[in-house]
């Protein structure tokens, strides 16, 4: 069985927020609810880097472990979904989640949280009818054989979604092509400073844009 995962290639993410918009559009989420977000570190500095993040559909999901209602479940594809009919809006999943994925529409008295909303990997959720499913959880693109819209619309293909094996193969291929020091966990810059023989490769990358014209 597939194990669905997101992977954001931070070397490629250009902080265009296309994924955020695509998600919002595909799922028609409530006002103020933004299932995906882009976090930028060192904004405006040479070391700036951006990463798109939403629910990571953890193998050992903390939200599932702490939910007092037990409303979470994992699909056969490893996607973490939740039942809004059982959710009571206690906020424990929010306390536990490392990625800040669960969000709550503020709509009840005294700031009481509404039903939790989070990324469904575009896999909908438990409902009687398709309309109800869309209303509560947003799109079910997985049922239509499609991947999450955020990843499909990513302009630089930084955000990858799919079976963990497949997307990690793609990422690994990129890392090998870029050159790496320790399995891609070091930056390109570092790899190029101390790596064995990647200078030619890096030179190609540096002039990537012009190379197309030269070769074409």
């Amino acid at each position: 069985m597939a194990q669905m995962k997101f992977l954001c290639d931070a070397e490629r993410c250009i902080e265009c927020n296309g994924c955020v918009t695509a998600c919002k559009n595909a799922n028609e989420t409530d006002w103020g609810i933004q299932r995906r977000r882009v976090v930028t570190l060192d904004d405006g500095k040479p070391s700036e880097v951006s990463i798109s993040v939403a629910c990571m559909h953890c193998d050992d999901a903390p939200c599932m472990a702490v939910c007092p209602t037990d409303c979470f479940y994992k699909t056969d594809d490893g996607i973490v979904l939740h039942d809004k009919d059982i959710c009571i809006g206690c906020g424990y999943c929010l306390y536990a989640c490392p990625f800040g994925a669960p969000q709550f529409p503020k709509e009840e008295a005294f700031g009481e949280r509404g039903k939790m909303d989070k990324c469904t990997f575009c896999a909908g959720g438990p409902a009687e009818t398709k309309e109800e499913e869309y209303e509560k959880y947003g799109a079910n693109r997985i049922a239509e054989g499609k991947l999450p819209l955020c990843a499909e619309m990513c302009s630089t293909k930084a955000l990858l979604a799919g079976d963990a094996q497949t997307i990690s193969d793609i990422f690994r291929e990129r890392v090998v092509y870029r050159g790496h020091e320790d399995g891609g966990w070091s930056s390109v810059e570092k790899a190029q400073m101390s790596g064995p023989d990647v200078s030619g490769n890096l030179d190609e990358m540096a002039y990537d844009a012009t190379r197309a014209t030269r070769e074409g």
């Binding site: 931070a10 070397e11 902080e15 927020n17 955020v20 933004q34 977000r37 882009v38 976090v39 930028t40 570190l41 060192d42 904004d43 040479p46 070391s47 880097v49 951006s50 990463i51 993040v53 903390p62 472990a65 702490v66 939910c67 007092p68 209602t69 037990d70 039942d83 009919d85 059982i86 009571i88 809006g89 206690c90 906020g91 424990y92 929010l94 306390y95 536990a96 989640c97 490392p98 990625f99 800040g100 503020k106 005294f110 700031g111 009481e112 949280r113 966990w185 070091s186 930056s187 390109v188 810059e189 570092k190 190029q192 400073m193 200078s199 890096l202 030179d203 990358m205 540096a206 002039y207």
Partner: protein, 347 residues
Amino acid sequence: MHTLMQCLWRLRMVGVVLLLAVLAASLAPPSSAAEPDEEIGQAVGTVDADTWRQVKSGENFVDSRYDSTYNLINPSGETWRQIRNEWISPAGLIAIGGMLAILIIFYLIVGRNDLDHERTGRKILRWTVFERSLHWTVATLFIALSLTGLNLLYGKFVFRHIFGDVFWANMIMGSKLIHNYAGPVFGILLIVILAKWLKVNLPKKHDWEWFKQGGGMVGDKHPDAGFANAGEKAWFWILASVGLLVVISGLVLDFPIFGQTRDNMQWANMFHGVTSLILMTVALGHIYIGTLGTEGALEGMATGYVDETWAKQHHNLWYEEVKDNAGQPQQSDPPVGDDTATAHRPN
């Protein structure tokens, strides 16, 4: 002459400029534009171990979510999960289950603390109507909050499997609503009741002796006690300390609209869990002593009056001071005001 001077001047200036240019060229760092290595270092972001440390620290980042205060990765959530699921949950079960077991064993071995002498039938006012209604309101709220709170912590392991999804959804939603709305009411009334009973619960010298003798729960000894014995005082001060912590931490969780962060709420939740489980455990002891454990104790809080014999046995110092006010047996329902009660509890 004039033009010659000008020419020489110009030559000299050109020389100085040339010299400066050569100097500058030799001192200046190599231009980065000519170095593809450096250029790529600037063109491509650096994702390395430091980046991931930074991701956890929550510094130097901007977030596209409009009201986000979250780091990219919050390790504190996992800590909270471990403490709540691996420590507080099982510890609470052990504490409450252990207390129940102790009480059952105690009851089976020692049994009820009976009155040593016959009742005289003369009644002494112990609790006014106001005090009794306050007590039972707080008690009802306490039990409601305990049961709903326990359901929030342990319910999912039991009831969903027994009753099915629909019943469970309503049950747990009801639990949350009752818990969230009864909580603040309990908090207010707890403060009222603490204020009301503060005076009679101030520690006295004889209280220490009471503790040393175990409150006379086992055997025939009856250590000195005023209106409130040392055990009651201990329960009062536990409510005044742990109880107030439960209320405060609960309020932090109940109204998440005052800018408290997720970390604040994780802490509040752990505090709330630990303190409320302690309170429930001690409350079981209080309930036991007030009902099954002591003959004649419940009728005091139910009717407001206790028998003279009971007062003498359990609260001898208080009895000595109020015995003259003891009512006649036929006195069925005398008017009970707060002033009367004050007259009944000089110590």
